[in-house]
């Protein structure tokens, strides 16, 4: 057992477009599927009546709101995963010069 293991391979940061894509795209796809499955069983108008009956929300409006809510949730989850998978070298750096 060597006390000091060799430093693990530290992948350099990927381009920003790749990072955004890896978070936005899978979450978008999942949100699409979830929206379809969800509204196969639930009518947006029923949903409106038990939540905000005072606000005029049409069916297509309901679909849109729900889709973006699902996307927000799945994208947050992807963002969390990205944060946890960042190697520690991204955090353990010297303070920026003043």
């Amino acid at each position: 057992m060597s006390a000091y293991a060799p430093p693990p391979f530290d992948h350099p940061p990927r381009p920003i477009a790749q990072r955004i894509g890896a978070i936005a795209w899978p979450s978008f796809f999942t949100a699409c599927v979830v929206t379809m499955v969800f509204f196969a069983f639930v009518d947006p108008l029923d949903l409106r009546d038990i939540t905000f009956p005072g606000i005029e929300i049409s069916r297509s409006m309901g679909y849109t709101i729900a889709f973006f809510m699902f996307w927000l949730a799945t994208a947050s989850s992807s963002l969390f995963t990205w944060l946890l998978l960042r190697p520690s070298s991204r955090f353990n750096r010297a303070l920026p010069p003043e």
Binding site: A3, P8, L84, S88, S89, F91, E98
Partner: protein
């Protein structure tokens, strides 16, 4: 380049796996000021956790988030699912408190208040009672399975599991009345969900605080990863003073500290260079201590030479005893500088202070200080970010308090019947509605229903009662009919007014009345 590079063939067991099992951390017991503070925090926080569900308030459980009844009691006030906005606001306030405290005091949350820290600490105490301190535990783990090992490990897990089950029961007791839960324990009459949640939470505590411990902070905690965004050079951190401590090395007792023997503090650049070189060429003592920080230094092209052997009078105050590493619950070497793994528990401060006392040196080689103070510059408490956080907090807390104080004890909603836009009857046109009332107060109420409309002729139907009674905490649903003369056409605004007899509580709901188009 004459230095031989140490390379080792990785034994990957035939596969191509580079998987390395997380090495277990064996934190050494230490006592001191920070440890006392931590114990106080544990007693206070866990005291609240285990005691609160058993307290009563006005004949009901004082703190109870009653999921079955959809009512949330927090001592005096009772909250409803409709009060969700207060919860959202409270969470924002708590997040801001966290940012504010972090900007000033560093990771106080991680070191003292996080449930992960608090329960890990109690689980560690139980491990010490049964298996002994660091060296004994390491020996026990390395040794063969004999009677003593089975007894010690077994009794540890018995203690852990009993404690975890009690924790699970308490957790469930925040959501279903705990005295009732206790009364139904013998003879056993819990329902499936109660059993599930007690076991689930017990398992989670046992797993997180007993087995995973610091790995939760290192690999699963989001806060550990973004807390540095709140940090600047004036934030309190657990810091080793390399200007005073370097070059590190063992020596005989009797020599005073750097100031007493006139060596003084090193120049900053030299001191950090010594730290860097010591980290690259760990001493035998450092290797034994098995620190596994992931501090990354900026890459250099020049070869890193090990430190030469210094005569005792040139050494800094660090005697390289590695106590700071041995007591660390996340197993890092704080001398390498601030690392995201550091939960700022300050146990290394206690360990180092004890060693400094033994050596007759002044305390504070590792201390709770700011980067500016360590570098010999003045620290500033009032910074723009502190002021911004404070102002935001003040505004939010004020809004929250005002909102709680002026909460309406009545919720009223009017739903139009969806089946028909209007009905034509012998007397004219009827529209159907359902009125939903929630009496959030503590007393029964009699509510009056009135209708206001700019269009003359629309009024409550003859069959509609104009008063509704609701007991304390009751949800009432009543059908309402509006009628108008047959000549009325198109859409008209109407407003329902629901008020108590004394008129103190009043809610209005806007809706519409439809006639033939």
């Amino acid at each position: 380049m004459t230095r031989k590079i140490d390379i080792d063939l990785l034994d990957d067991g035939g596969g191509n796996s580079y998987y390395v099992k997380e090495r277990k951390v064996y934190p050494r017991d230490v006592s001191g000021r920070m440890d006392k503070l931590r114990k106080l925090a544990v007693a206070w926080l866990l005291g609240m956790y285990y005691l609160f569900p058993w307290l009563n308030w006005d004949g009901r459980q004082a703190v109870l988030f009653h999921l079955q009844e959809r009512k949330f009691h927090v001592f005096g006030p009772t909250f409803w699912p409709q009060d969700f906005s207060f919860l959202a606001m409270l969470l924002i306030i708590l997040a801001l408190v966290l940012f504010f405290v972090t900007a000033i005091g560093g990771r106080l949350w991680c070191g003292f208040a996080c449930p992960q820290t608090v329960w890990t600490e109690t689980f560690l105490w139980m491990e010490r009672w049964t298996e002994g301190d660091r060296s004994k535990r390491m020996k026990l783990d390395a040794g063969p399975w004999n009677r003593e090992k089975i007894l010690r490990k077994g009794s540890k897990h018995v203690l852990w599991i009993v404690f975890a089950l009690w924790t699970g029961l308490t957790f469930t007791g925040f959501f279903t009345p705990i005295r009732d839960l206790g009364a139904r324990f013998w003879p056993f009459a819990w329902n499936g969900w109660e059993v599930f949640w007690v076991l689930f939470y017990a398992f989670a505590v046992w797993m997180w605080a007993g087995i995973l411990r610091e790995q939760m902070c290192k690999y699963m905690c989001p806060y550990a990863r973004f807390q540095s965004a709140m940090f600047d050079r004036n934030t309190l951190i657990i810091a080793y003073d390399p200007m005073r401590g370097e070059p590190r090395g063992p020596r005989k007792r009797g020599l005073g500290d750097v100031l007493a023997r006139g060596r003084g503090l090193l120049e900053k650049f030299t001191a950090y260079d010594y730290v860097f070189r010591a980290a690259r060429h760990p001493s035998a003592a450092d290797s034994r201590a098995q620190a596994r920080g992931t501090i990354s230094f900026d890459p250099t092209t020049a070869p890193v030479e090990p430190l030469p052997k210094f005569p005792a009078e040139q050494l800094g105050d660090c005697i390289d005893c590695t106590m700071c590493v041995q007591v660390c619950p996340v197993g890092i070497d704080i001398r390498n500088g601030l690392q995201y793994e550091c939960i700022a528990c300050g146990l290394c401060i206690d360990a180092c202070d004890n060693v400094m006392d033994l050596m007759g040196f002044r305390r504070g080689l590792i201390r709770y200080s700011t980067q500016n103070a360590i570098d010999g510059k003045p620290s500033r408490v009032l910074r723009p970010r502190i002021l911004v956080y404070a102002l935001l907090l003040l505004a939010l807390v004020a809004g929250f308090t005002w909102g709680i104080g002026n909460r309406s004890p009545l919720i009223a909603e009017v739903l139009r019947d969806r089946n028909a836009l209007y009905r034509v009857t012998a007397d004219g046109i009827d529209n159907g509605y359902t009125l939903k009332l929630v009496n959030k107060g503590d007393t029964a109420q009699q509510y009056r229903i009135r209708l206001e409309s700019v269009t003359p002729g629309i009024d409550l139907g003859a069959r509609t009662a104009d008063t509704v009674a609701a007991a304390a905490g009751q949800i009432v649903s009543v059908p309402i009919e509006l009628s108008a003369p047959a000549s009325l056409q198109g859409r008209h605004d109407v407003r329902f007014v629901i008020e108590t007899a004394d008129g103190k509580v009043r809610e209005t709901v806007e809706s519409s009345f439809f006639g033939p188009l």
